[in-house]
């Protein structure tokens, strides 16, 4: 890659990282399932259903509640169930954000004492995607993680 293409100042890279973390009283496998199975994402990810086998190199999609529109259509970069999943991100639900380069989400699930896990979602590679960065900050990821926690801990809306 030429120097021109790498013209990002290293200091700017740091701002292009967002880190969200939450303790959840659930097993690593339960959290993994909540991230990778549509019956769970439908309950906390703005009603969208994830479509993935979580295998490296395969598609990672979010389908809108209408069952047709794609809100996300990227790829699985890394997969180490039930501990680590790295996927691409592009906000197809927003025209302006969708025109920006893809960014990256890393889900990390670390077991803690007392039946808890620490779940970390890191959204990075946002250097060239300021609109996406603004959209997902604020309530965006907070709602998702807080919703994921309550789905797993209270089982709200979980049918069998």
């Amino acid at each position: 890659m030429s120097n021109d293409a790498m013209s990002i100042h290293p200091d700017e890279g740091r701002e292009a990282v967002q880190v969200y973390q939450i303790f959840i009283k659930a097993t690593p496998q339960a959290i993994w399932d909540a991230i990778t199975r549509p019956e769970f994402t439908a309950q906390y990810f703005y009603g969208s259903r994830v479509e993935t086998t979580a295998e490296v190199g395969t598609p990672f999609r979010y389908r809108a509640p209408d069952g047709e529109t794609l809100w996300g259509d990227e790829t699985v970069f890394e997969s180490d169930p039930p501990h680590r999943l790295v996927v691409g991100w592009r906000s197809l639900y927003d025209e302006e954000a969708a025109s920006e380069p893809a960014s990256r989400i890393t889900w990390e699930i670390e077991p803690q004492d007392g039946g808890f896990c620490l779940l970390t979602a890191t959204h990075d590679h946002l250097e060239q995607s300021p609109i996406t960065a603004r959209n997902v900050a604020g309530a965006g990821w907070m709602m998702v993680l807080s919703g994921l926690k309550s789905v797993l801990e209270t089982g709200s809306g979980l049918a069998a």
Partner: protein
């Protein structure tokens, strides 16, 4: 996550200031965070440790540097647990009162 630790961490102006600095721009080093505070390095480190223990600050290593990021999720959890409950309550109580008053007119 321990609500007590979050409330305690938020109950200090210096720590709230540190969170505001990290909200403006994440990935700061402790040296950057010290720059506008009339505190010793030790004092700032102590506040950052309390914020980290409460889960409000996450530290990521980048080479030899420790970068600090704001993690707003515990505040959201408190919002969901406390604020939602109390904003729904009074609002519906008032609207109940209004409909009863209007009916009795």
């Amino acid at each position: 996550m321990d609500d007590d630790a979050v409330f305690k961490a938020l109950a200090d102006p210096t720590r709230r200031h540190l969170l505001d600095r990290l909200f403006e721009k994440g990935g700061r080093t402790q040296t950057e965070l010290e720059s506008d505070l009339p505190l010793t390095r030790f004092g700032v480190a102590k506040h950052l440790r309390i914020l980290e223990a409460a889960g409000l600050v996450v530290i990521r290593r980048s080479g030899r540097e420790k970068l600090h990021y704001l993690n707003p999720v515990p505040i959201r959890v408190i919002h969901d647990r406390w604020i939602d409950k109390y904003t729904v309550g009074p609002a519906s109580a008032l609207s109940d009162l209004r409909s009863r008053l209007e009916e009795s007119e």
